[in-house]
């Protein structure tokens, strides 16, 4: 099953990357003659209100969604892990300060916070990435801190000190890598959440601005047409979100097993 998930992600990612080359239609250009056409051989996923080919739009949208999710996750992971590692290893005031900062972020419902930041900073792509990243930092921070608390009591942490390592190297070279396996799993799950957040933000209009295609925005548009019977406008982008997020989850589970150091050297 996880193999299937990997395949899905690869397909999404590769097609997203190659989108401008492989997609026959222009995602942004309206073609009023063919508005709201059902799925057919010409338009495999039908067209939207402006006559734009859905399939093309969905694949292009993949670029945006994946990019944002990846960037946000990467930033949150790096920042959160470093903060968590330092906090966990040093304890005391450092720990208290950092953890209270993280508490503050977590006190807000994450979507509201993302909304707030996006609204405050403006709808640019980079701001959305920042907004999502900030809401995700606490997850990694706490996770890594917890792992660090466990790992720093291990004898090899003491051994690293005995051997003559400087503290910084002990934290980052020895201990942090051992804190990472749960982080990787969390990251893949979080990628899914990030995609959902972008989609949701766009759905309510705070995310990517039209005419740029984005799965959430497309789903939002499509929602208006369910009643009138043009089911394809929301179904395909919605499915794209679901399939991608699910695949990330499955890959995350599989990755955790792979990253177990017991697999190394086998």
């Amino acid at each position: 099953m996880s193999l299937g998930a990997v395949v899905v992600i690869l397909v999404v990612a590769l097609s997203a990357a190659a989108a401008p080359v492989i997609m026959p239609y222009d995602p942004d250009e309206p073609d009023a003659e063919h508005a709201l056409e059902r799925p057919s051989l010409r338009h495999w996923m039908g067209t939207d209100l402006y006559g734009r080919d859905q399939l093309t739009r969905i694949v292009h949208a993949g670029r945006v969604d994946l990019l944002v999710a990846l960037a946000a996750t990467a930033i949150a992971l790096s920042l959160g892990s470093v903060l968590g590692a330092i906090s966990g290893y040093r304890g005391g005031w450092t720990d208290q300060l950092l953890m209270r900062a993280i508490d503050t972020i977590q006190a807000f419902p994450s979507f509201i916070l993302a909304m707030g930041i996006a609204a405050a900073l403006g709808n640019r792509l980079s701001n959305i990435v920042i907004a999502i990243a900030i809401t995700h930092v606490p997850i990694y921070g706490r996770l890594v801190r917890g792992e660090m608390l466990r790992v720093r009591e291990m004898e090899y942490a003491e051994a690293a000190r005995t051997v003559g390592n400087r503290r910084r190297r002990i934290i980052f070279h020895h201990l942090l890598p051992n804190c990472l396996p749960p982080v990787v799993v969390q990251a893949t799950l979080a990628m899914g959440f990030a995609i959902l957040t972008v989609a949701a933000l766009s759905y309510i209009g705070l995310g990517i601005r039209p005419p740029t295609s984005e799965w959430g925005a497309m789903t939002a548009e499509g929602a208006g047409y369910i009643v009138s019977g043009e089911w394809w406008v929301f179904l395909f982008p919605g499915t794209a979100i679901m399939a991608t997020v699910l695949s990330f989850n499955l890959v995350g589970d599989a990755l955790r097993d792979v990253l177990d150091p017991r697999m190394k050297g086998v």
Binding site: M154, E155, A160, R166, H174, N178
Partner: protein, 308 residues
């Protein structure tokens, strides 16, 4: 190397755990000093104080004319080239993500100026010395047996040819037959390279086999110190005698004179005044409440007891 020191680990304030109290010991070059005692006696704390993994509250650790306790952090770090430790749990003391070669190479990378090639060669040399083939260099800890892991520990400790190696219960976590091999390895290294060991253990028979001199600790103080044979054949302190008499001897006809201590070890927070064994010692006298003198009962054999 001298270490007179006093270390108080803070318990819940204002109670204080007297982990070590006025311990003075010395280890001569190429000698093996055994440190024995039951749990709570402070021997592990002492080991960590010697290496300054824990800071002593008072006192000094003098190593070859240098006062280690007075060194700054960076200087102390550099000194670690000469002071290494082998830990008790062979699995927990190896970083599961580092290969054998990486683990053993690290001290060389940190403390020597050797090139990568030279370090590689030295790692292979050390792996041979401890009886692991150089072929195991790319393995990871989970692919090794307990005995092999402990050898890696030892390899890491001796890679830089330290002047002193502290061994904290290096064989407790090992099976009986592995124990014998590791002990023999340690003895062999001592013979061949002239290693100086501070050997901490609760296993007295191993201590007898490996150590030149032995110090017995109880509740944070040294109660007796003597050359190994002398200590085991003519123990002077009641605690030592009690301890020895508790050890079952693999000879059904041996009937050891059982000196029993009553009660349990008191908590290191409420330490009795004078002799710490006072409440449990069957030979206790009123004078035992006074500060305890250290007496010389035979050449090289000291005892902290009023009645010696």
């Amino acid at each position: 190397m001298h270490f007179p020191l006093r270390s108080w680990l803070p318990g819940r304030a204002p109670r204080v755990v007297h982990a070590l109290d006025g311990v003075t010991l010395h280890v001569d070059a190429a000698e093996t000093l055994g440190l024995v005692g039951e749990s709570g006696c402070g021997k592990s704390t002492l080991a960590r104080c010697v290496l300054r993994l824990i800071e002593p509250t008072a006192g000094r650790v003098r190593f070859e004319d240098t006062d280690l306790t007075a060194l700054g952090e960076e200087e102390m770090r550099r000194r670690r080239r000469d002071l290494q430790m082998v830990f008790q749990d062979p699995t927990a003391s190896l970083n599961p993500r580092l290969s054998v070669a990486a683990t053993v190479e690290e001290p060389l990378a940190l403390h020597t100026e050797l090139t990568t090639e030279a370090r590689r060669a030295r790692v292979d040399e050390v792996l041979d010395e401890v009886g692991l083939g150089a072929g195991l260099r790319d393995r990871y800890p989970h692919q090794l047996s307990g005995g092999q892991r402990q050898r890696v520990n030892i390899a890491r400790a001796i890679a830089t040819r330290p002047r002193l190696v502290v061994l904290d219960e290096p064989t407790s976590a090992l099976d009986v037959s592995l124990r014998a091999r590791v002990i023999l390895l340690l003895r062999e290294l001592k013979r061949r390279i002239g290693m100086t060991y501070l050997f901490i253990s609760h296993d007295l028979s191993t201590v007898r086999y490996l150590c030149d001199r032995v110090a017995v600790m109880y509740l944070g103080v040294v109660v007796e110190e003597a050359p190994a044979g002398e200590l085991f054949d003519h123990p002077a302190h009641p605690y030592t005698r009690a301890l020895l008499s508790c050890i079952p001897i693999p000879d059904p006809d041996a009937v050891p004179e059982r000196l029993t201590l009553t009660g349990e070890v008191p908590s290191p927070v409420d330490v009795p005044s004078g002799c710490r064994l006072r409440g449990r010692c069957p030979l206790a006298q009123p004078v035992c409440a006074e500060p305890v003198p250290v007496r010389l009962v035979a050449p090289g054999h000291t005892v902290a007891c009023h009645l010696a």
